[in-house]
């Protein structure tokens, strides 16, 4: 408890605007975008130079899928990290991570449709309907589409913070389906997908609002305290913080 109080105090101190003009803060969002696109550049380089190995199609599908899921899980870690460390500015990297996660996932799907299946629609539909791991992956992608489409500040304004938040809660089932997709496609060694499941589970548990962790300015909010739901809205997406960058 004392730790929490100390953390709250230090966070409060950090929140006060210093009287002297400070150096421009690091553009965290831009840095995150650039870093999250490095693997894509790497994949493009390997594609152009024949560095994808013996089975380039499989390599492309795997690598884009892996990065899509990894960045999605990274996106979901931003809020818990922010709450645990009190470093509020880290919220700036959430949108870039989420949007690039979608970019990789979409690429993953496009490569599957165009090269792996050679646009054979009947096979693609059969896969989506009959193979559970592809059903799960496709459902996850479908959930990410509206999130990517409403990732702009304008969308938040248009939808209103509450509705935007509610919509963006789709990220949880999308991430769970993504992990399930990974788990179901593995033939024998289930350890890597189980690791993802454990990480995702931990991140979701960290979102359960613990009384000591409620940000001070929110504690008075009647909805946040009264609601006994496992994940009240105040603990989730905080669109106003996006504007605070």
């Amino acid at each position: 408890m004392t730790q929490v109080l100390e953390r709250a105090a230090s966070a409060g101190a950090r929140g006060k605007a210093p009287p002297t003009p400070r150096r421009r803060p690091l553009p965290l969002g831009t840095i995150a975008t650039v870093l999250a696109l490095v693997p894509l550049a790497n994949i493009a380089f390997d594609t152009a130079t024949g560095g994808l190995g013996v089975e380039p199609v499989e390599a492309l599908v795997r690598r884009t899928g892996w990065w899509g899921l990894t960045l999605l899980v990274a996106t979901l870690s931003v809020t818990p990290v922010r709450r645990l460390t009190g470093w509020n500015r880290i919220i700036q990297i959430r949108r870039p991570l989420g949007v690039t996660a979608f970019v990789y996932t979409l690429l993953h799907f496009v490569i599957y449709v165009a090269i792996k299946q050679w646009f054979a629609l009947s096979y693609i539909i059969e896969d989506i309907l009959e193979r559970p791991f592809i059903t799960a992956g496709f459902a996850a992608l479908c959930m990410l589409v509206p999130l990517a489409a409403t990732s702009t500040r304008n969308s938040i304004r248009r939808l209103g913070g509450k509705r935007w938040q509610r919509l963006h809660r789709l990220v949880y089932p999308a991430a769970m389906l993504g992990v399930l997709h990974y788990y179901w496609l593995v033939k024998a060694d289930t350890r890597p997908p189980l690791l993802y499941a454990a990480i995702l589970g931990t991140l979701l548990l960290l979102r359960l609002e613990l009384p000591g962790r409620v940000p001070a300015r929110r504690r008075s909010s009647p909805t946040a305290v009264a609601a006994k739901r496992p994940a009240p809205p105040s603990s989730l997406a905080l669109p106003e913080n996006l504007d605070g960058a």
């Binding site: 390997d46 024949g50 560095g51 994808l52 190995g53 013996v54 089975e55 199609v57 499989e58 390599a59 690598r63 090269i115 792996k116 299946q117 050679w118 054979a120 096979y123 059969e126 896969d127 009959e130 193979r131 559970p132 791991f133 179901w184 496609l185 033939k187 024998a188 060694d189 350890r191």
Partner: protein, 307 residues
């Protein structure tokens, strides 16, 4: 994740250019076409490039692809793992235990076991259950020759095989992702079929660690996992023997595992395959294109049930 092709195991300068190899093959085939001596082997190459549904060409898969893309869980689950971790795999000395219903059981030194047989070349399609495929020029001898030498008794209805279990040398076995040792088996008529071979080489070179040295099975009309590698035990048995992938996921991998485009794996279609080196999927052929020679063994069997 990725290893560079043309790794340092064999300088690429040493590898026969595929074009030269193909020319040589063609020459041998043409030379042999009229010769009675080659008549026995000719059906083995039938269906390569022609035959029903074989309009697409069946060019040999380059050697470097064959040695760098392997499904060999004893050396790791990624396709690149075996080339990396099997590099220093030693197969000398090597002993093979022969037991069960046969007259010539015992522990054999490999050299003694295979001494009577002269490897011949067999160019076979290899179709993996994961829906990729290759065309591989094997050197080997018919399994039936070996079986005849071991004199199975009349009650032997199946042959069971085991891969070496040695986590020291095969690091993939250090985790129990499969129920080691790796086991496979064939019905006796399948084992005695002239297409079924024990392979000792590829492209006129001894098998590298990742391809299952010193001896491995090749059953070209079955999914690749039936073609067990690095064999240390051969048993003649009366009942259908347990086989590793079937034990692991019985509804996904059957004992027979005949290549069949009409019976899908629960998680993917088997109707098409991607030939390594090609982008566009091609249709998978019934019995991997060897139906003329093997289908009769399964007449009257429901291949949806015995997948």
């Amino acid at each position: 994740m990725l290893i560079k092709r043309g790794s340092d195991q064999i300088p690429s300068s040493e590898i026969t250019p595929e074009a030269a190899y193909l020319n040589r093959r063609q020459f041998i085939e043409q030379a042999g076409r009229g010769a009675a001596a080659f008549a026995a082997g000719a059906p083995l190459l039938a269906g390569m490039g022609s035959g029903p549904g074989g309009q697409q060409s069946d060019e040999l898969t380059p050697y470097e692809d064959i040695i760098n893309y392997n499904s060999y869980y004893k050396f790791g689950v990624d396709k690149e793992d075996p080339a990396r971790y099997a590099r220093d795999f030693q197969t000398n000395p090597w002993q093979v235990v022969v037991d069960g219903l046969c007259n010539k059981g015992g522990t054999y030194d490999l050299a003694d076991l295979v001494a009577p047989f002269t490897p011949e070349e067999r160019v076979y399609r290899l179709r993996c259950v994961e829906a990729w495929s290759m065309v591989i020029p094997w050197q080997g001898f018919p399994l039936r020759d070996l079986i005849n030498r071991l004199e199975p008794t009349a009650s032997a209805r199946y042959v069971a095989f085991q891969t070496l279990h040695d986590p020291e040398r095969m690091m993939g076995q250090r985790s129990r992702i499969l129920d080691w040792p790796y086991r496979e088996g064939l019905r006796m008529d399948e084992a005695m079929h002239p297409l079924t071979i024990i392979a000792v080489g590829i492209y006129d070179r001894p098998l590298l660690g990742q391809n299952g040295p010193p001896i491995r099975l090749v059953v070209p009309w079955k999914y690749g996992f039936k073609s067990i590698k690095s064999i240390v035990k051969i048993s003649f048995v009366e009942e259908e023997p347990p086989t590793t992938w079937n034990m692991m996921a019985p509804h996904e991998y059957g004992f027979y595992a005949n290549v069949n485009p009409e019976v899908d794996h629960p998680r993917w279609s088997q109707a098409r395959e991607r030939r390594v080196g090609e982008l566009r999927p091609r249709p998978t052929l019934m019995f991997n294109g060897y139906g003329d020679q093997v289908a009769s063994m399964y007449s009257g069997m429901d291949l949806r049930r015995f997948y």
